[in-house]
Symmetry: C2
Amino acid sequence: MASELKVVPLGGLGEFGMNMLALESGDDMILVDAGVLFPSTDDLGIDAIVPDLSYVLQHREKLRGLVLTHGHLDHIGGIPYLLEQVDVPIYGTAFTLGLVRKQLSEFSLLKPPHLSTIRAGQELQLGCFGVEGIHVTHSTLQCLALAISTPVGCVLHTGDFKVDQTPVDGRIFDFEAFAEYGKRGVVLLLADSTNADVPGFSDSERSVGGVLDGIFSTAESALFFTCFSSAIHRVQQVVDRAVAHRRKLAMVGRSLDTACHIAMNLGLLRIPAGTLVDQRVLESYPRRDRVTLIAGSQGEPRSSLTRAALGKHRWARIEEGDIVGFSAKMIPGNEKPILRVVDNLHRLGAKVLYGDVCPGLHVSGHPCREELKLILNLVRPKYFVPIHGEYRQLAQHRALAQEVRGDDLGKAFILENGSVLHLDEYGARVLPDRVPVGRRLIDSGTRSEVIRPSAVRERRRLAEFGVLVPVVTIDGDSGRDVEVEILDRGFAVSGGSQKLLKGAHAVIRDSVLTTSRRQLADVAFMEDKIRDDCRRYLARKTDRQSQPLILPILLES
Amino acid sequence: MASELKVVPLGGLGEFGMNMLALESGDDMILVDAGVLFPSTDDLGIDAIVPDLSYVLQHREKLRGLVLTHGHLDHIGGIPYLLEQVDVPIYGTAFTLGLVRKQLSEFSLLKPPHLSTIRAGQELQLGCFGVEGIHVTHSTLQCLALAISTPVGCVLHTGDFKVDQTPVDGRIFDFEAFAEYGKRGVVLLLADSTNADVPGFSDSERSVGGVLDGIFSTAESALFFTCFSSAIHRVQQVVDRAVAHRRKLAMVGRSLDTACHIAMNLGLLRIPAGTLVDQRVLESYPRRDRVTLIAGSQGEPRSSLTRAALGKHRWARIEEGDIVGFSAKMIPGNEKPILRVVDNLHRLGAKVLYGDVCPGLHVSGHPCREELKLILNLVRPKYFVPIHGEYRQLAQHRALAQEVRGDDLGKAFILENGSVLHLDEYGARVLPDRVPVGRRLIDSGTRSEVIRPSAVRERRRLAEFGVLVPVVTIDGDSGRDVEVEILDRGFAVSGGSQKLLKGAHAVIRDSVLTTSRRQLADVAFMEDKIRDDCRRYLARKTDRQSQPLILPILLES
């Protein structure tokens, strides 16, 4: 059989979150990343969303490993749900695996997971695939791009990255490796598209330090900063200023504390002895000698910062004159809860640094257009697939690749989840058939269970229009003595809808009285009839297509 | 009785939307604005939110008029719901009242409304209040600040404004009037806080023209622009470029068409003959000779642009190579639907100008911090109340006023909806008691009906956990022959929750079997007991406080 490769995105294209990519060749398959997508505020009752694994399960005997690019949840948060269904060895850097271990400890797994640490520069053989991690700069620690040697040539997957020329830890983006692979020949480049619609270069992580200097130099009361828990470079910069300005530092929030301790144990976050104290101890220092790193940058309802902003946190107390800095992106969809926290902090009299009030307090961890051009020119791939973005970013990244590489680019493809890109000696093309993909919705009740998609629709209708339960009692002898009671929740919400409910009453009585004796005995038929008549009546009266859920109950007395 | 004034915000403080302010003195009361608040995507089944009017109704015999500052829906959208409850004369500029008339035509009012046109510079006597409109620049036409003479002195209400030094229509912000009132003495200034957290000056509306010039000069196919329907200055700038570049122009979308025609009839929007054509006619011109203004800048599901982006609009067809420009703010909360439209436009192959891709294509209509300082120094008020903002903007605007005016400022107050600011010869203070305020939720079923707040909670729970209807049939004679059936919607959504449902079955049987004969006869008691036992069981099993709605039905056979 001639050599061939299939590249199949299972999640993360056309959406931000649940990144997962399969590479398949002959009898071997590997996965890159296994992320989660967080539900939006109108996805009620859903804890998390992860990719459908039908395709992986179908080829489980080929599965040689899962390679992780870095430790953000949109790249590792789906691992527990993956391991529930398939046993697969997992490879990642020490910091990434530290986060994975912590996450797995909250689930009861059937088997102990197989976790193997890899480093940038190290090669790994997984079936026919040779995988080498390449160090890239990003907003968390030990992030890898992956150079994957396959039977059809080298595939380069950037993972999430930015080109930071002055990283906080001094570890420069590995331009040499990118250039070297480019020189040797890369058949396919898959690259991060998050900021493909943002012109210019991203600011260096180090530039946040300058902004912190200004804040620390002038602050006269307690300081609070919130950031993503895995943003260890950011944490290090706050720590360094705390030391310079002789403030004691506390960490509040489990996720932050966990990530920082993993980094400290690996020697990747350095806090001099005597600086880090418990929040309860911090309270005994004068306010101007305090700084608190606190979890909750996205306004999560149960986070430490959300509670502190309501004056409800036991230890973290924010008072008039304190400064609270948001050192994180507002993830689209989270603006409202975040801004509610900002409002509450103002109510406490704090000075709040967020958005336009202090724009330099956060920088993106993803590459802007000029950085994307640089990568394209370093790697000079034959084929190109933009990844990690919604459709608009993928489209703009593809156009950028065409502009930069011109006729030297064989082709750039916009794939969607489930698309199969097929590469062989004749070139690359998208196969006509897609593999099954989809979203598994994790029930917030049972945690690990998957919700039927139809249930989501049902719940949405319940939320919009409520539910009616017509209880209809028919005298079994005459069939003419009818009692109707309608229970309702979330329907008769106003004077007008109460009138509708009365009307429905009459409609149901009529519905029963105009039915023949023979049909009356058919409970299923009658329940359908009552539901239909009721629905038609409501549709006519309200002039809308959607209606409440109607659950008729028929009884014979 | 000594002179006094009460200033009572009924909506719009601590929120963006449903602006309404009452001024009351002796036997007279006037209202400034009557706006609507649009529900967010998770407020299912709600059409609109307007202020509770209890306070207005309580004092209806004092009500002398409603004065409108301008025609945006957050200032006029509540009028139909106000007129349903109280008959009040309404005053506004010609353009504002044109929009009000259009809006009222969609409701069946009991009485014809009393609408009177006012102009900037004209004085109006409403009971003891003298009201003069002052021309201000903003993102729509004929906007007024209000100088209100009251028994305790002059109150200046800025309405919504920006300080545009080069307005498109050449009508400069009336600095003179502000300065003149400042000189004569203003006891209270109420000012727009929307951008109190944005440093600097807002860009002039005219700067958008420069960006449009660039787009029109280089575009080689059809052009589409979307903006707020009342943004007539924006429309005029597109029209001017269409004329200069000899493109034909069409307007698509009812709201846009309506607002533009109101402006054209008033001579406030000028389109040379031969430029404006019907969209169906536009299609007969070469693509490079076309420009379409299309409604739907907020990704509204039924808007023209949303449908066109899906290829489903009958007349507005967008093709590869066309340019679609978003010339409007993304209102917080609308990001997701807007970006979905942007994605779909990319799928059609259009070049889309939005956000960072083309930042100059929209400018804000509200004042930034330097403009706010200018107003404070022109007006030099004794007291200050920031309005039109969430708490964070109000707090920052208050701090700004204190910084600018120093000891010359008597006091700055942050009011919340329902707060009463009392002014008399001794000064200004907030009264200890608030007046009743709240939100009236307009049912999307019956359109004009108000939803009980408890119903919203019910619907939210339905959406999160679903509903269970345990139907329990008990043999009346023995009380021991129990049949249990549980209907569910949106609950048993997964394997785990189906198991829970089975468990609940057993719990309910036990609940009945362990009850005494006497209590069994008490239907209400038994239904409560079944509900409680069921809830306790689910709480124990799922380890969460909230549970599905449970509606037990008890029957005797």
